[in-house]
Symmetry: C2
């Protein structure tokens, strides 16, 4: 338990995956230490913002030395919770759900895919990534018997709230919501929305002559 | 051409798709006018923020009347550029690319899917949504002969920059980038990143005990 890291501002939190990715790239290239200035060139954030951001979790940098890439990587992984394994299920195994399964498999240890659910008879019983797709009817029972940390919600807008209610009821801690609708959930359940069509609309704004 | 709408702040711009979605829902329910207060209950933004946001594009509200749902909907569609048709291609027609094709088809008029590209021999020549998948080798030639507004980049991280260079060279105005990497592009080309694994990591942060 680190009480201090609870105070990480939302904007900083949202930059953490990008820091981790940059540091991972540097590690692959054999870089052992890096100054905030070089990290700034790499990431496009200002050196001063980087120092401020990283000060939120331990202030790893040493004056005149810079950041130890490996140590900072591990620290950010730990802050994000990626140093532990989280159980994950995918509800809705259409194209998006299957893409999601691929993302999950890309992690070495952070996530364990424990269940797949769909309502399409043609899909039920088939396998994705070695996991059998179960009927949506089994979801509630599955959640009673298994502890699930995260659910990727890849169902249509019409079913999203009903499924989300079952997920919350079943003790799921966080929902990655791909359905373009705002879920109404108990306070303890975290939601991260990935509304792909909204990104497309924002891009359309950016390219449109007005 | 509306010079004033160019000044819409980034934060407001990013909220526009959500406004549009809420107004679309209200329209479907037969609601003709709505106050900023009711819109606030609906969206979770404060009434004062809503009034400020909507003032950026014409100030549709009338004191004591509220907003005309239909008119505001049309106005936001026009600002986002959704009242015109944008040509779109998808590069990489794996699960994500096919999911993307479904999103595009969900719009009545805003987007026209004009091309699909992949490098997998098994996919080339097959059809998705009535469009034949072409070989990635044909991309440059296709862009010379066709005007493409938007490309959804659904390839792997390793190929993303190379493909993005071709897209920029070929006159594509905007890239919806699903590859978890930062693209380096000429200034005129807009990019909207949809880094799904980063949303998963942020959710993991939110559910993790520290």
């Amino acid at each position: 338990m680190r009480d201090d890291s609870k105070k990480i501002p939302v904007a900083v939190k949202r930059r953490l995956p990008r820091y981790l990715r940059a540091l991972g790239d540097l590690k692959k290239k054999g870089v052992e230490k890096i100054s905030s200035g070089s990290l700034s060139d790499y990431l496009g954030y200002t050196a001063s913002q980087i120092r401020q951001d990283l000060n939120h979790f331990g202030g790893f940098g040493q004056q005149g030395y810079g950041y130890n890439v490996e140590a900072l990587c591990k620290e950010i992984e730990a802050i994000l919770g990626l140093d532990r394994t989280h159980s994950i299920i995918i509800v809705g195994v259409g194209h998006l759900g299957q893409a999601m399964a691929n993302y999950v498999e890309g992690y070495e240890k952070s996530y364990e895919l424990v269940g797949l659910f769909d309502i399409k008879p043609a899909l039920i019983g088939t396998e994705v990534g070695g996991i059998k797709i179960r009927s949506g009817d089994e979801l509630e029972g599955f959640l009673k018997e298994n502890s699930v940390d995260i659910a990727a919600l890849c169902v249509n807008v019409e079913s999203a709230q009903t499924v989300a209610d079952k997920l919350a009821e079943g003790g799921v801690k966080g929902i990655l919501n791909f359905a373009v609708t705002d879920l109404d959930l108990p306070e303890g359940v975290k939601v991260e929305n990935v509304h792909i069509s909204e990104f497309l609309e924002i891009l359309t704004f950016d390219i449109s002559d007005r």
